[in-house]
């Protein structure tokens, strides 16, 4: 993961875009992470006959090349399905800029290199307007300095340290955490027997 994410941004102004809309359930019947690009925003991108909806932003030039989304409030709400993030990454999306994200979606994004900078409503609206211009706004997100630059706009964004470090380093949380195996064993040693769940098979 680079420290700077650059690309064309597409405005997606709807509030409360949920993970059912990002990844409809008919694409969830899978045991792998792959093959989810076509399912991403499927009902927004395609009509019932499978034809592209020409009016949808990601089907219009230059936003067919978009790698950043400017999104409405509470993006990613609903189901915990990580398929939503996998699909967005497979569609080529590297970042979503918004005023706030649902918690599980936020954590899933971090695990998959999808950056979610949080900005004020005013900045979000300004970016939304800018990215809606026919030239298509090229946006630059600097994770190190936590700043976004686009056109005349230069603004700071919020991102917690752990998420930022994870995005920059692209690390594997599971393997990293196993370095604390000793601490986990110590914790378990302090549990009395009635605090150790054992499920009847």
């Amino acid at each position: 993961m680079t420290k700077t994410i650059k690309g064309i941004a597409a405005p997606l102004p709807l509030a409360n875009v949920d993970t059912d809309v990002i990844m409809p359930k008919r694409f969830l019947i899978t045991i792998t992470r792959e093959g989810l690009a076509d399912g991403t925003f499927a009902d927004l991108r395609f009509d019932n006959a499978g034809q592209q909806r020409p009016e949808f932003i990601l089907n219009r030039e230059p936003w067919t090349q978009a790698t950043i989304l400017i999104v409405g409030d509470n993006f990613g709400c609903g189901s915990s399905r990580e398929h939503a993030v996998w699909g967005m990454r497979q569609l080529g999306i590297n970042a979503c800029i918004g005023t706030g994200f649902a918690g599980i979606f936020y954590d899933n994004a971090r695990k998959n290199g999808l950056a979610l900078p949080v900005v004020s409503p005013e900045i979000r609206d300004a970016l939304m307007q800018l990215s809606n211009t026919p030239n298509g706004a090229e946006i630059s997100i600097n994770l190190d300095s936590r700043t976004i630059t686009a056109g005349d706009i230069s603004a700071s964004f919020e991102m917690d340290d752990a998420t930022r470090t994870s995005l920059i380093r692209g690390r594997d949380d599971t393997l990293d955490s196993l370095e604390y195996a000793g601490a986990i064993r110590d914790f378990e040693a302090g549990l009395d027997s009635k605090m150790r769940v054992s499920v009847i098979k």
């Binding site: 019947i29 045991i31 649902a102 393997l175």
Partner: protein, 464 residues
């Protein structure tokens, strides 16, 4: 120093701080289903990792299985179910699959099995894991990468949330249920209003609920964005811990599982129980609800152009007109089920409305009990007979079914469903399907009337 219940739960489960601001927290119990776990097991394989403590996990089939029969309805769902079973055998994890007398919707099965107790920390790859807050346990949903993390380490990387308390005081009117209470909270706080917060529910209207009602409240707290929901443990909680297969196995001592009297919350909301009416959603977000006696909103009710546009979009999807009365909305389908409202208590409430009545002509009505145990209990109580006499289809197998339509219970384009579920998102119950959320009793009333109806107009016909 005074602490909230949430802070006590985090403090007692903290393994260590991590250098970048996260902490590792210990997961006492982890639940899996067939659709969010396959890639987690593949991750273990790729990294050549073992499951840290296999006995602390339970896998339940619930999301994709058919509820008409024990047989999977297609090859794709069979693949997911078989994959979970194979992974559980390989890693020595308890598996409650199709045909197992303990199978059902995970959040219905866990309390039935006595696998939740105050002071526990429970994770699951399902957003409605907030349900366990009803027991004074910290439950929350996780993604598949985190499922892998719990399997391999029995911990999660965690950031402490801010705290919010929602107090609902005062008696609620007859006909007003736990579902109406939480739908009111979602309406007031807003979808996403509790993003970043752990929410504790307090007040006499909450204390007065039985465990099923408390679970309904905590279950739907995720619809306001809460990453955790909590209700302080009390005598009602304690008595609910008895009589299950795992009863007596666990006791999480060391703290009183209530917030200290002087604990300070980052946010507070207060709602009067007396002001809550039976609610229905009219839109495509769970906070878009009105009392059953009211009308669908109009553009004049909103100020900003964005809000007016959002209203227009929701109404267009839902096929409704501005200002239309809630009770004029005709339905095609009635669905009672889901982790929110498929417990025995929910079925009893719906049966009270249905006894001596019949579903309206043209309405398809389905009830899917939350678990095999719930179904058997309901049949023994005579509830199945009431549902079937009223024209409901009684499903023999348990599962999430039409709540999210991952099995073969899919609503058609434009089909309108009165639903006891938790999400009215676009496409949730099928592409183009139109969902109205409400309590199970209100679904029963709508099924009988053929349109959304006020359950308070349905006096009980026979007395028991």
């Amino acid at each position: 120093m005074s602490r909230t219940l949430y802070d006590k739960l985090v403090d007692t489960h903290k393994v260590c701080d991590l250098p970048d601001g996260d902490m590792l927290i210990y997961v006492d119990f982890h639940i899996m289903n067939e659709y969010t776990s396959p890639q987690a097991f593949s991750g273990l394989d790729t990294k050549q990792l073992d499951v840290w403590r296999p006995e602390a996990h339970l896998a339940v089939v619930d999301h994709v299985n058919a509820t008409r029969s024990k047989e999977p309805h297609d090859a794709a769902s069979k693949l997911l179910i078989d994959n979970l079973q194979a992974n559980c055998i390989k890693h020595a994890i308890a598996f409650y699959g199709l045909g197992d007398p303990r199978q059902g919707i995970e959040h219905v099965v866990v309390p039935e099995q006595g696998l939740v107790a105050p002071g526990m920390l429970i994770a699951c790859g399902d957003s409605h894991t907030t349900t366990y807050g009803a027991y004074g346990a910290l439950g929350f949903g996780i993604g598949t990468s985190e499922v892998e993390h719990v399997l391999a380490t029995q911990t999660l990387r965690y950031k402490r949330m801010k705290t919010m308390r929602v107090t609902v005081d005062g008696d609620t009117a007859p006909g007003v249920t736990a579902k109406d209470i939480i739908m009111k909270v979602v309406q007031v706080v807003g979808a996403g209003g509790a993003n970043g917060y752990a929410v504790e529910f307090a007040g006499s209207a909450i204390r007065g609920l039985d465990m099923a009602g408390r679970m309904t409240v905590c279950n739907m707290a995720v619809e306001l964005g809460a990453r955790a929901a909590l209700i302080a443990a009390d005598d009602i909680t304690e008595s609910a811990l008895q009589g299950h297969p795992h009863s007596g196995q666990f006791a999480f001592k060391g703290e009183s599982w209530i917030s200290d009297p002087k604990a300070v919350f980052d946010e507070e909301f207060a709602i009067s129980g007396a002001d809550i009416e039976p609610l229905i959603t009219w839109g495509t977000s769970p906070d878009q609800s009105v009392p059953i006696t009211a009308n669908v909103p109009s553009a004049v009710d909103y100020v900003s152009p964005e809000a007016k546009a959002a209203l227009a979009r929701s109404l267009h999807y839902m096929g409704l007109s501005e200002g239309q009365s809630a009770q004029s909305i005709k339905i095609d389908t009635a669905f009672i089920g889901s982790c929110t409202n498929s417990r025995i208590e929910d079925l009893r409430e719906a049966a009270k409305v249905l006894e001596g009545r019949h579903v309206a002509v043209g309405v398809e009505a389905i009830v899917v009990p939350g678990s095999a145990m719930t179904r058997i209990k309901a049949e023994a109580e005579g509830l199945r007979a009431i549902f079937e006499a009223a024209g409901f289809e009684w499903r023999p197998e348990a599962g999430c079914s039409m709540c999210l339509a991952m099995n073969d219970d899919i609503a058609m384009d434009g089909e309108r469903v009165a639903s006891s579920t938790n999400r009215n998102f676009e496409g949730r119950q099928g592409r183009g399907a139109r969902t109205h959320l409400m309590s199970p009793a209100m679904v029963a009333a709508a099924a009988v009337a053929g349109h959304l109806a006020d359950v308070r107009d349905f006096k009980r016909k026979t007395s028991k």
